[in-house]
Symmetry: C2
Amino acid sequence: MLSAARAAARNSTALSLNEDPTHFFSTRAGHRVTRDELIAWVDQYAGTQVRELIVNVNAQRTAFDSRVWTPFWKGYDPDGPDGQPLFASLPPAGQKAFRAWIHTAWQMNEERLDHIALWLRRAREKGLSPWVSIRMNDLHNVEDERHPLHSDFWRAHPEFRRIPYRGEMRDKALDFGREEVRDYTFSLIDEVAARYSFDGIELDWMRHGFHFGPGREDEGRAHLNRFMARVRRRVGRRKIAVRVPPHPESSLRLGLDAVTWAREGNCDYVVPTNFWRTADTGMPIRLWRQLLPEACLLGAGLELGLNPYVGSRMLGGKPFGYNSLATVRGAAAAYLFEGANRIYLFNYMDSQTALEDMGEYPALLREPGSLATLRDKPRRHVVTYTDTWAPGEPAAALLPARMEAQTWRAFRLAVGPVNRDLKPVLRLGVEGEAAQWSARVNGALTERGGKAGPERPWPDCPVWTFGIPANALHDGDCVVEVTAASPGAVQWVEIAFQPVA
Amino acid sequence: MLSAARAAARNSTALSLNEDPTHFFSTRAGHRVTRDELIAWVDQYAGTQVRELIVNVNAQRTAFDSRVWTPFWKGYDPDGPDGQPLFASLPPAGQKAFRAWIHTAWQMNEERLDHIALWLRRAREKGLSPWVSIRMNDLHNVEDERHPLHSDFWRAHPEFRRIPYRGEMRDKALDFGREEVRDYTFSLIDEVAARYSFDGIELDWMRHGFHFGPGREDEGRAHLNRFMARVRRRVGRRKIAVRVPPHPESSLRLGLDAVTWAREGNCDYVVPTNFWRTADTGMPIRLWRQLLPEACLLGAGLELGLNPYVGSRMLGGKPFGYNSLATVRGAAAAYLFEGANRIYLFNYMDSQTALEDMGEYPALLREPGSLATLRDKPRRHVVTYTDTWAPGEPAAALLPARMEAQTWRAFRLAVGPVNRDLKPVLRLGVEGEAAQWSARVNGALTERGGKAGPERPWPDCPVWTFGIPANALHDGDCVVEVTAASPGAVQWVEIAFQPVA
């Protein structure tokens, strides 16, 4: 149960941080993990803005010694070679790396070192709210049917997959329209609820987001509404969170009716979020706030990636860009202003799957949880895209925007509260010659500057700067209107708040 | 005040019908309109499913003798030539036609024949609920600054337009961020509220949908929230309806926060709707239902047009397709199933702007207002698009869908409740050779038939039929998955429920 103090604090803003089920094993592989090392992992989050420390316990397999699901180390022979059956489908380098962290997981279990239990306990001691998270339908590596990550259940029941007639990744998700799948998944929730002491449990419907056959979501929705009620009965007064797609319509069309779950008292915390490649900076947080009961927490889910469109290239031709402290500040400021109670960090771990510049990690844990701590910090607002839509739903994206000469296009960016002590700058990444292009922000003509030098994250195209007049910006949504003097394509749109030199 | 019987009926389903401010004049031009003719106009709707008869009273000018706005006939000289100053900017044929209906309007006013008052009174006598509608920001013919439709106010104040730096149609809308514009518009509401006896007043924010400078919508929203409270104070217990864009997010981003209006008691009836060229068959009615208070009526707004994408061509190369009785039945069945209380017909008038086959009009007024009357009727569900998005918001559309060989695409269609006594058929309009294409509906393989013959509305490309297995369809959303054996483009997607031969 929540303490009175914690209950009072719950609607003030803060961070939630998700730790995935394999990161710790794989980054601590190669040596014997100690209790002190586990405690130190928690302690790095104590005294920061992190309130909910959310420990994920499973992908298809579990990070603990489950009796109802398949532990990561099931089938592992510590005395066998790297090429033993569990790893047989991997290439040699993969076998070695995989075996190393599976060994760590195996060894911790042999030593009865239940890091999840230890973390939850330590989190509580340090004033953090201990949570567990369950991935509802994980699909890592399903392109390899023999991959060591797959559960016995998934392997044994190809007939339970949501789409039997294709072989793409999402097709191989389990079909929650089947009672066997719901019961199998519930059994893990049941086990975790009995085994661990936590403030709340998250059901992560965004791993990997697709739980029904295309066009079967309406009947699926009815199943999940009942499923959530069953979870509530099981966990009692402990809290329930859900991760769902960015748009309420998409979520509903995917069978994930978080609004009804919250209204029926079967969920206390809703986190709209993109699935993976990029944080979505355009989520309709105000709309979610209108939909959810006031007592239901609303978290804005941020993935680690920051990419402007599907297939975009970042500086140096890289296929993947990452958020920096400055871009997280931007998204956080926008979303907290729009009514989010939490900024939810996913894949912002303490190494490996982490910020490019880990020197920024301490500040990342101490700034984006509140508008007060964000207020005087430089920040960047970047147009990205929504990556999760229901099957057959129209999908929308702003970029890339191909422009004919003398045409114009508009781009909307939520910038949150404006601090007049910082200097706002528009940055446009353009393929083509844009020296004569012009841009307006909220109707006001900007002052064309030169090309800007790179600062990560940065696109793989020239970026032009435009000075924004002091009075043009205001709190909330801003609209950038770009007029092309010559043909080209807009590939990056950003409003940055910079320190006054 | 609502009678007890009418209050009891208000949440059952029905039709609302909008009559525009010039249609009657222009279709009855060339003769002296009589009181009997006016009564007959109302009586055609009596005893049908039409419940709210919504009489629009203005564009930029008014259809009655306004003291605060500009009546249509202001500046008209009945003894002058067709080329008199009011009509000077029109081409000769336009001058003649325009003058004819302005003359009718002028003459009716001379004879103190206030058709609005008479219609409202007659509607009440005949058991219809009499409503008035006010267009908040009409932009017809603004490409001609001297056009006779423009108000004195709009002409006198180019500085009040929402975008001063371009000259496109939407740019010329009045800026509701200005107090003068709000007061000017309120003055008409005030006059109409005093002059006429009605059950409800509609504020039509979808004529033409854009009321603030780009990026100024957040401050505009605050203005409109107060404006709606002012309207409530003025009209008292009479009802207030609003027409707004299809998506709640877009509406909010345009400054039209219908959810807050309804929750604050300042609106009783919300109608999401496309603007014009096509009815939107993909509106998130379930989401609107979740957002609005239970007591607030929700209407699904249908425009007269039915077109699959921007720039699409219909049979014979025509740029514009129209709904038929069968396609209205389709959209109505889907939306009533999703929780709409009303099907709202816009531009479905009794001539001119009307169904192509007016033989269908009696049934149009008697079937789509209830699932009971729709149940056993053949109907057509056609993929269209949303035409109104906030500036800079990503816009989405399903069609046209270009397909490479061996790729697949999905299309979502809401079909409402399935009647097993009708035969479901998938129809795909394809540019390119599609004889070997295949399609699934809700995962079930369809049976490829031949090309289908035309039936209006119909696209300007070959249409292939696919038989849908009996058990594949279920109530609500359906997903069509198309696999292309060869390159081509899907231009039309339809599920039709046909009589069993």
